[in-house]
């Protein structure tokens, strides 16, 4: 989230799209009801289904799954053509004024630089025009034909309300109402928050969905202000923490990059990330990249990391290609993987194209499941009839189950969607042999290192040189681990005048204290401060809110630097004054930046210096145009999902995202709309948490059985009665469930054609207290988003029919 859960109560318009906060985030949703109750905020929901969020909304607009970019681009077009933008914000705080270099083009759905064989772009034409002074050229009048603003006008012009309605199926009046409510916040007086989740992410163009939303918020001036923001609602209590700590394969903790094959030395790695400001007087925290990176290496390799050996840079693995989950299963499928350790991971349930996953797992020599529960994955080799129709005699994979504690049986921190790190204490004793994940991993590490010590082997150095300084090497505590993430001074640290600011061994108070000479460590710079010299700040439980704006500055610790709203310098105008009294947040008091939050800015830089407020970007402003930073284009484009019942109405030559990642082996798994005419989407139910709570009796009572939601019209067409058993199949698999026939789903008219959609809740599997069902990912396609490689779970094609006869 750019903002925080508690900040949602400052919104005047709440827009939920690509998510269903009431269903998936009921506790956080309270802040929506607070905004409605106390501010009179309006809630609008755009979703293929009339969801639980829609049940309490002031406006609901239906949309066909996978057509979000068309809808959102239509909103952009509405704002631009009706001049409903926050002009000063756009002029000064976005790159609208930046000129794009010559050579950029967009034709028939493709940007300049496309290579069809590689399914990838050469992005060199997507850059700014750089002036003779080395800075990017700007036109503050926003009139230059190659300035981002004019390019945008041109690019989004085709997305008229009529076109949006034709592509998305949203009635024009309902679409326009959304536009009007969005536009009502483009003034610095009112704010709109956008809440989204995996309904935007899980598409072959997922990252661009979110980006288009960010553009809308920037045009309205809703970034950096209370009640604004583009707010990702994270799906697990600690999935934010997991992303932060770098379990994605291409990143190390704190969103630093894992070195690649093309960066053989530390110098080459750092040189690639050298900060080059694109406008005068620009400052950026990325200029500190070397400090963060070296401190990270010091945490990893301790005393073994010295300037002489580039702090152990050579011991870090170098990436050839990102190993996201789809690729992991692709290599498994090809028989190239020997073993898999699943720690709190149930890929049989979670990964697209389950049949392929099961074949992949069957080719492993061993599978380790570290989990509090017996997952469907740990028992993938068991035959469960139609729900998991495998032949155990043909599967030779050896499965180890290591029982882990549940979250209540261990202490530690969780990082929520608000980026707030909160400590939780152990509430119950572990059962049987269960022990915490860190103990299991420490045990594994210690044993493997011992084997290397005794027997040697290839690539031993990273393990042998690993710093492992825990009081009990077999049981690193959560307290020790959080301290390690925070970092400490290794020698007495002095400021420019030579005064000691931090004595050797003491915890660092902020990442500003990190050094690139090996005198500090800290494996995750963004968390620095959470466990500072004053102790463990994630344990703070002061719920006072002096500003009344839901800041709660002394509750837990929000990374970075305990900041609750990111980019909050943008809550004031270029002169440092609040845009309006209603949205007063951070402002220049004559000598420094002040307000209820920690400024996202150097607190002493005066407005006159005109340093841009988005100090993470070399432009100093936010990006309506993302240059070459996204794989599939500097602007979003409407592409159909890989499986879609219709052609691309705007660019008939291009159906799906041309840069989305599809493995060669998967090219034939997509279904033909003639055979599979019905759109399907997947989602969670509030009664369950993902694939865990089907193991829990009480949750199973609340939602006992897999079902398929469909419109009354589709049910009638197919002869399905409510409560009938139905069969749903895609080109990849089949599931069976009960029919829930509802008014909450309606057929949509897409380009003159009636398109039906069915809804498939994802919580049910073949292990647990709920009725057995085949995993919903038996149906889903294994195509990955062009940027994040997230599978396209949210829009694919199926067919459906009732099952006659006795139902078991």
């Amino acid at each position: 989230m750019t903002n925080s859960w508690t900040d949602i109560r400052n919104a005047d318009v709440v827009w939920i799209m690509g998510g269903n906060a009431a269903e998936a985030h009921p506790c956080g949703f309270k802040w929506v009801t607070e905004a409605k109750h106390h501010r009179g905020a309006k809630l609008m929901v755009v979703d293929p289904r009339f969801t639980r969020s829609a049940a309490v909304a002031d406006h609901y607009a239906p949309i066909r799954s996978g057509s979000d970019i068309a809808f959102l681009s239509g909103v952009v077009n509405y704002l631009l053509t009706n001049d409903k933008i926050h002009t000063e914000y756009v002029r000064h705080y976005t790159n609208a004024s930046y000129l794009v270099r010559e050579g950029y083009a967009f034709n028939e759905g493709l940007f300049s630089g496309y290579d069809e064989d590689k399914r990838a772009y050469d992005r060199s034409t997507w850059e700014y025009e750089i002036g003779p002074d080395g800075y990017a050229v700007r036109d503050m009048t926003l009139q230059h034909p190659r300035c981002v603003f004019q390019l945008m006008k041109q690019h989004f012009a085709p997305y008229t309300p009529e076109v949006v309605s034709r592509i998305s199926g949203t009635p024009e009046d309902k679409f326009l109402r959304v536009c009007e409510w969005v536009a009502s916040t483009a003034n610095g007086e009112r704010a709109m928050t956008i809440m989204y989740a995996l309904g935007w992410t899980q598409h072959s163009h997922g990252a661009q969905n979110i980006r288009t939303a960010a553009m809308i918020q920037l045009l309205c001036g809703n970034i950096g202000i209370p009640g604004g923001g583009v707010n990702a609602l994270r799906g697990h209590s600690n999935v934010q923490g997991i992303t932060d700590v770098g379990t994605l394969t291409a990143a190390i903790p704190g969103y630093l990059a894992l070195p690649t094959d093309s960066e053989p030395t530390l110098e080459s790695h750092l040189a690639k990330r050298k900060f080059t400001p694109l406008q005068p007087n620009q400052t950026s925290y990325w200029q500190n990249y070397p400090k963060f990176f070296v401190s990270f290496l010091k945490s990893f390799y301790g005393d073994k990391a010295t300037p002489a050996n580039s702090f152990g840079y050579d011991w870090l693995p170098k990436l050839d290609v990102a190993y996201d989950c789809l690729r992991m299963f692709e290599t498994m499928f090809q028989g190239k993987t020997n073993g898999l350790i699943c720690q709190g991971f149930n890929p049989v349930m979670a990964i697209a194209h389950q049949k392929k996953s099961t074949i992949g797992l069957s080719k492993l020599k061993f599978l380790v499941s570290i989990d509090p529960i017996e997952t469907d994955t740990a028992r993938f080799w068991e035959n469960h009839g139609e729900a998991n129709d495998v032949d155990p005699s043909k599967i030779q994979t050896e499965v180890f189950m290591l029982p882990a504690t549940t979250f209540v049986e261990e202490e530690g921190s969780l990082t929520n969607s608000s980026r707030c790190i909160q400590w939780k204490w152990r509430a119950a004793d572990p059962t049987y042999e269960a022990t915490s994940d860190s103990v299991i991993l420490a045990d594994l590490f210690t044993r493997i290192r011992k084997l290397y010590e005794q027997e040697g082997g290839k690539g031993a150095e990273p393990l042998l040189n690993m710093s492992w300084e825990y009081a009990n090497p077999l049981e690193p505590t959560a307290d020790e681990l959080l301290k390690e993430l925070n970092g400490k001074a290794l020698v007495d640290l002095r400021d420019a005048e030579g005064n000691i600011i931090r004595t050797a061994g003491s915890q660092l108070a902020s990442f500003g204290e990190m050094r690139d000479d090996g005198s500090t460590d800290g494996s995750m710079w963004i968390y620095t401060g959470v466990y500072g010299p004053n102790g463990n700040n994630s344990q703070r439980r002061d719920n006072s809110d002096p500003s009344g704006l839901g800041v709660y500055p002394n509750w837990g610790f929000s990374w970075p630097a305990n900041r609750r709203i990111q980019y909050n310098r943008a809550s004031a105008d270029p002169q440092g004054k609040p845009w309006s009294e209603a949205k007063k947040y951070m402002y220049w008091d004559g000598s420094r930046w002040t307000g209820p939050d920690v400024p996202d800015y150097v607190p002493t830089i005066p407005p006159e210096r005109a340093t841009g407020p988005f100090i993470m970007n070399p432009e100093g402003v936010s990006r309506l145009w993302v240059r070459g930073l996204m794989a599939d284009g500097p602007f979003p484009v409407h592409y159909e999902p890989f499986e879609s019942p219709v052609e691309n109405a705007l660019f008939p030559q291009i159906k799906g995202n041309p840069a989305a990642r599809v493995f060669a082996t998967d090219m034939d798994v997509f279904g033909d709309p003639k055979e599979f005419p019905i759109v399907a989407t997947t989602y969670r139910l509030v009664e369950h948490f993902h694939y865990w709570t089907k193991m829990v009796h009480m949750n199973a009572v609340m939602q006992p059985e897999f079902f398929v939601e469909m419109s009354e019209e589709l049910a009638k067409e197919k002869g399905i009665n409510p409560g009938d058993m139905v069969k749903v199949w895609s080109n990849r698999g089949t599931v069976k469930g009960k029919a829930v026939v509802t008014k909450r789903l309606k057929p949509l008219t897409i380009n003159g054609k009636i398109v039906h959609e069915v809804g498939l809740p994802l919580n049910f599997g073949f292990i647990g207290e709920t009725k057995k069902a085949a995993p919903i990912n038996s149906l889903t396609p294994p195509v990955g988003d062009a940027n994040a490689q997230t599978p396209e779970f949210k829009a694919f094609l199926v067919d459906i029919e009732p099952i006659r006869g006795p139902v078991a």
């Binding site: 269903e23 309270k30 009179g40 639980r52 609901y60 509030v686 009572v701 409510p722 909450r744």
Partner: protein
Amino acid sequence: MYPPIANPTTEPTPPKFGEKDLIRRSASTVTPPAQRQTEVAKLIDVSKCIGCKACQTACLEWNELEEDVGVNVGVYENPHDLTPNTWTLMRYTEWENPDTNNLEWLIRKDGCLHCEDPGCLKACPSPGAIVQYSNGIVDFVQENCIGCGYCVKGCPFNIPRISRVDNKAYKCTLCSDRVAVGQGPACQKACPTQAIVFGPKDEMKEWADKRIEDLKSRGFDKAGLYDPPGVGGTHVMYVLHHADKPELYAGLPNDPKISPVVEAWKGLSKYAGMAVLGLTAAAGFIHYILQGPNRVSDEDEENADRLAGGSN
């Protein structure tokens, strides 16, 4: 946000109400306390409810109830009705508003409304099986319950359920055990959106007024409070967007009152019945006093003899 109810102290505290605070007791007469306790109420704001069933789960958890894993029958309700273990149930109604053409998904938490004039208590034949505290809570006392199911017939809202296991009636207690130590009911505690709030009934009504004002500003002209006078008001109230059509909300009765049939059964038939029986017995007694026994005389016997003899 309605101010959250603070957690209770860990020190043992005497319950805030008990036997002495009874204002009604089934099949018994009680002397009501001179001073009524502050009347409490649970306010369910349907317009804030997202139907997450947290209340339903919290109810099972707090009251240590075990419900069976059922099946899906094509709806979101699970279980499919209130049961002896499910004392509260989310009910979902899809309604296309003819005035706006908008679909509305009306979600109502069903359960005991704790009537000021409780029909269950009126119908109950077992002394002390149903009691009403002066704060308004209507509670079932299972050790006195005989499982006759009369409460089911007495209730205007079809709430109580009889357990097949122990033949006792069960329903929402408004967490009288929690309220007794100054807490709100478990459902209220669990509600993530404050669709359920709990407190003094007066304050709940004020809170509801603000909600109704907000709903009216959003075009729900008929928004209002459901506190039906037919049962003397209730201690569980609803804020409804369509207070003029409560039956939209999964059949919430429009003007609930204790059924006249039940009134006749527990009123007229009792008194008339007692009178009929008393009068009949008295008539017999008086007749006997006045008339004495109707004896067979010797003459009758002789006549009979003669008859028999004659025929022989």
